[in-house]
């Protein structure tokens, strides 16, 4: 047996939706992160609610990328594929590298399983052209059954532990300390020690199986950690990080946090997460529809809360009107759009960046609204905080864009210290203005003052009708409408945002890669590969989209070639062309509902460089 030192390894756990692949993947990534590896994960859920067991549409996957140094994506193809049944092997093998090790549960490759997975013969490996030497074929189900024979558990509960056997085997393959997994399970099932016990027993069995049989597999992988950043970490998904960002911002601003929402994939986990934290005073209202989710948040904002509404693209369609109400009433509001594939219901569980123009322009009238986008699961925390601060301090609705990929993906999150975050100071109307204040009086930054109900002497009426700049009364005066339109625009344009950062060959890149939001990891990885091959390449990745960073023109016009790579048909490219005179980029567009594939990016960018 050979021990392979590797820079990074990708493991893909796959099985039936009920096989617990997410949990196995999660534990494995935690175990790896605990020893200091960099991690990036991505779950791949089936769209079916509950497809028939063993069917091709019911396969769920969880991919983990672990690296000795920083990893930016969950990886294109995997080095190890765990396939818990025939359907998983059939559908997931295309995500495996040609030399990948494949772990299968031979007990789930019976005639019926093969039929459900639409294999023609019993030689399923032959049919798929898989070299048997690369396969760790083990009768996983029977071994789990034997292992727990004395546990007194019923057959169904025993079968639920299969994922832990696979985990044990993978831990052996990667030479992982399984005690970390044990501790994880003990904590997770603190109230059900018998379940923790059973799971631990099965992990150990899986580990021992690998160790004792040496199996047919040729290598054990070893990922040594380099460049550790000391600190305390947790694993966090993008959606959870977003929820945490809102909580942190509300605490920093000294406000109640209100979420008005309606369940929608892939944004629902934000509602789930915030609903848990009543002990922090978080108010969550699951409304009757998307419209009410946003409308109630506008009401909560008027009442003085940090108001948030969370949704995905189809929900933005419905919320647009109430978002626009917040624009004209100049009330703070954060609208979270966890993008998915569209149009209409589209690909609900898949990822795209196709809502950008909707976010920028999808409302009637002149309706300027800041738009920001998170670049990674952990960046969701930063951007949720930034969006909240922007909304509260500039009295405006702000759209925070994430996507299914960063929302469901996870990474190691260094626990933030709120003390190091900036203060959040909404422009409350100063008490000395009592008597002379009108609702649209602005501070020196052009921001309307906030008079929260309950304050005596500041009673006022806001509304969706245009108001007089001076008196705040309804006005149809043409000059006033023109003035108010310009003031609302100027207020957004004046919001300070950080400069656009250029990574890589800042000075002499022959190609500048431009992207926004959740593609950061893939674009970064592509840049790294190109640079490793000797190309001069830089990356400018947008997190602030409206207003754009001040140095945008300067950066975009500096390099001989620029490619805007995005998971839509060119929406960011179009926006940048609108805002930057003389900017004519090349474009790389993909709308597959799947994350970019780094190799494809490298190939496409190489062609552009060589052209």
């Amino acid at each position: 047996m050979e021990i392979k030192e590797k820079e990074s390894v990708v493991v893909r756990f796959s099985g039936d939706s009920g096989d617990g692949m997410q949990l196995a993947g999660n534990i494995f990534s935690t175990v790896s992160a605990t020893v200091g590896n960099s991690i990036s994960t991505f779950p791949d859920y089936p769209a079916d609610i509950r497809a028939p067991q063993g069917s091709l549409t019911g396969v769920s996957g969880f991919q983990v990328h672990i690296g000795a140094e920083q990893v930016y994506t969950p990886g294109d193809l995997c080095d190890v594929l765990v396939a818990m049944n025939a359907a998983a092997l059939k559908t997931q093998y295309r995500y495996a590298k040609p030399d990948a090790a494949i772990i299968i549960d031979t007990d789930s490759f019976g005639p019926k399983d093969l039929e459900k997975a639409q294999f023609q013969t019993e030689d399923y490996l032959g049919e798929m052209g898989i070299d048997p030497d690369r396969v760790i074929a083990c009768p996983l189900s029977s071994m789990v059954k034997d292992c727990l024979a004395d546990s007194g558990m019923d057959a169904k509960s025993i079968s639920k532990c299969r994922n832990m056997f696979a985990l044990g085997l993978v831990c052996w393959l990667f030479d992982r300390d399984i005690n970390i997994a044990f501790n994880f399970l003990k904590e997770k099932f603190a109230k059900k020690p018998e379940i923790a016990e059973a799971n631990i027993k099965v992990i150990q069995a899986g580990y021992d199986y690998g160790h004792n049989t040496h199996s047919s597999v040729a290598n054990v992988y070893r990922i040594e950690t380099k460049n550790k950043v000391p600190g305390r970490y947790m694993d966090i998904t993008g959606n959870k990080a977003t929820a945490y960002g809102f909580i942190a911002a509300a605490e920093k601003a000294g406000l109640k946090l209100y979420l008005g929402s309606y369940p929608i994939t892939p944004a629902t986990d934000v509602l789930h997460e915030l609903s848990k934290h009543k002990s922090l005073g978080v108010i969550t209202v699951q409304c009757e529809d998307e419209i009410a989710g946003c409308a109630s948040a506008v009401g909560a904002s008027f009442a003085g809360a940090l108001a948030v509404t969370s949704t995905s693209g189809p929900g933005i369609c419905l919320k647009s009107e109430a978002m626009n109400l917040a624009v004209i009433m100049e009330l703070p509001l954060v609208v979270l759009d966890v993008q998915r594939g569209g149009p209409a219901t589209g690909l609900p569980t898949k990822s795209e960046q196709t809502d950008l123009l909707q976010a920028l322009f999808g409302r009637n009238g002149e309706s300027p609204m800041p738009v920001v986008a998170a670049a990674s699961p952990t960046d969701c925390f930063e951007m949720a905080f930034a969006a909240s601060k922007m909304a509260l301090e500039h009295m405006t609705p702000v759209i925070l864009m994430t996507d299914a990929f960063v929302a469901n993906g996870s990474a190691a999150f260094k626990l933030p210290d709120l003390k190091s975050y900036p203060t959040i100071q909404p422009p409350y109307v100063p008490e000395e203005l009592k008597g002379s204040w009108t609702p649209y009086m602005r501070n020196e930054e052009g921001v309307r003052y906030w008079a929260v109900p309950g304050r005596e002497g500041f009673e006022h009426i806001l509304g969706g009708l245009e108001k007089d700049d001076k008196t705040g009364a309804i006005s149809t005066n043409p000059e006033n409408h023109d003035l108010m339109t310009r003031k609302r625009q100027a207020k957004i344009d004046a919001i300070p945002v950080p400069d656009l950062e250029v990574l890589g060959d800042k000075e002499d890149a022959e190609l500048l890669i431009v992207g926004f939001g959740g593609t950061y990891g893939h674009l970064h990885a592509a840049m790294d590969e190109l640079r490793a091959k000797g190309k001069k390449v830089a990356l400018a990745h947008f997190r602030y989209i409206n207003p754009l960073p001040k140095n945008t023109s300067e950066v975009l016009l500096k390099y001989p070639k620029v490619v805007v790579a995005e998971q839509n048909m060119g929406q960011l490219a179009g926006w940048l062309r609108m805002k930057v005179d003389g900017f004519v980029p090349m474009k790389f567009n993909q709308v597959k509902g799947q994350p970019f594939v780094v190799n494809e990016l490298v190939e496409a960018f190489t062609q552009i460089i060589n052209k």
Binding site: V229, Y244, V298, F302, A305, F458, I461, G463
Partner: protein, 330 residues
């Protein structure tokens, strides 16, 4: 502190002369003064429509929002700040057509809102189309040959959504209106007040039977909890039970005496009889028809927060972080 009508008044209403909204607004000012909640602690939230202009004539906090969403916006406002007294004002189009979904769900949740439904059975602001409360066959600009659909009956919708409070008054009847507004304020939960009002331009005379004092004396019954349901100029009529139904009878005829007249029970959990009262076409029931205590959404939200605060060990962001599986990289 004692308030007067003027403490709640603002601006010059721009409704058509004779519009029922003028009458209602005056009653609302008076009711608020009598209720005595400070203007600074009061929010009046409307949608869009003639009647939804109302917040502009209030010296309270308020919003004149977007079409149909007043109930949803009021919900967020009340839940986020339960100390505010929140009045939601909608017309029949705003509240029951485009805003129908929010109307039923606010009632179902039982948020402590005072919900005013100004019902003139017409779209006035868009100049004369039928509304969801216009009767079948109603002729309007958008139904020149008469509508071919049945109207909502607001009480039925409220009860169907498990509403706990329903009252009705006529816009021109100031004492009757003030009485139900005060009852709505005193009721904890969603309090629906249907105000029958005339549109002098597009639907003149729609509530003629009860719009004048004389008309009401003949055609309306003022319901009072615990009192016998008598009506007529000399209380010569009464409501009696007949099988599973109720009917109006003249006392002394067909052998009916006052002893047969039912006593109004607004507090009865079962809304069967209250619904029958609300749906009577003669006499038209006015006053508080249903007024049943139940847990309110906003109170429940906040009591749950208090309960969980006591039960959980983390109360700020830093403590929240510690509830996760954490590892240390040294």
């Amino acid at each position: 502190m004692a308030y007067t009508n003027n403490d709640f008044k603002k601006g010059q209403p721009r409704w058509c002369p004779g519009c029922g909204d003028h009458f209602f607004l005056a009653s609302l000012h008076k009711a608020m003064a009598e209720i005595g909640v400070a203007p600074s602690q009061t929010a009046v939230i409307s949608g869009i429509g003639c009647s939804s202009r109302l917040p502009h004539y209030m010296a309270t906090y308020g919003m004149n929002t977007i079409h149909g969403r007043a109930a949803a916006i009021a919900t967020g406002c009340k839940v986020a700040n339960p100390d505010l007294t929140v009045w939601q004002v909608s017309g029949d189009g705003d509240g029951l057509a485009i805003g129908g979904n929010h109307f039923i769900h606010a009632n179902r949740r039982n948020i402590n809102l005072n919900m005013i439904l100004l019902n003139n059975r017409i779209y006035g602001l868009t100049k004369g189309q039928y509304s969801p409360t216009s009767p079948r066959g109603f002729v309007s600009k958008s139904s020149p040959y008469g509508t071919v659909e049945d109207p909502f009956r607001p009480a039925e919708l409220c009860f169907g959504a498990r509403g706990h409070f329903f009252a009705r008054s006529v816009a021109t009847d100031a004492p009757g209106t003030i009485e139900i507004l005060k009852a709505a304020y005193n009721h904890k939960g969603t309090s629906v007040c249907e105000i029958l009002q005339n549109c002098v331009i597009f639907n003149n005379g729609t509530h003629d039977a009860v719009y004048s004092k004389e008309g009401r004396a003949k055609n309306a019954i003022y319901l009072k909890h615990g009192e016998k349901m008598l009506f007529g100029e000399n209380n010569e009529y009464g409501i009696v039970q007949e099988g599973f139904n109720i009917k109006a009878v003249k006392l002394g005829e067909e052998g009916y005496t006052e002893a047969d007249v039912l006593v109004h029970d607004a507090k009865c959990e079962d809304n069967t009889l209250q619904l029958k009262l609300a749906e009577m076409e003669w006499p038209i029931a006015l006053g508080v028809i249903r007024d049943v205590e139940a847990p309110t959404y906003d109170e429940s939200v906040w009591s749950q927060i208090e309960e969980i605060k006591a039960a959980k060990k983390y109360h700020n962001f830093a403590e929240l972080l510690e509830t996760n599986d954490i590892w240390e990289v040294k």
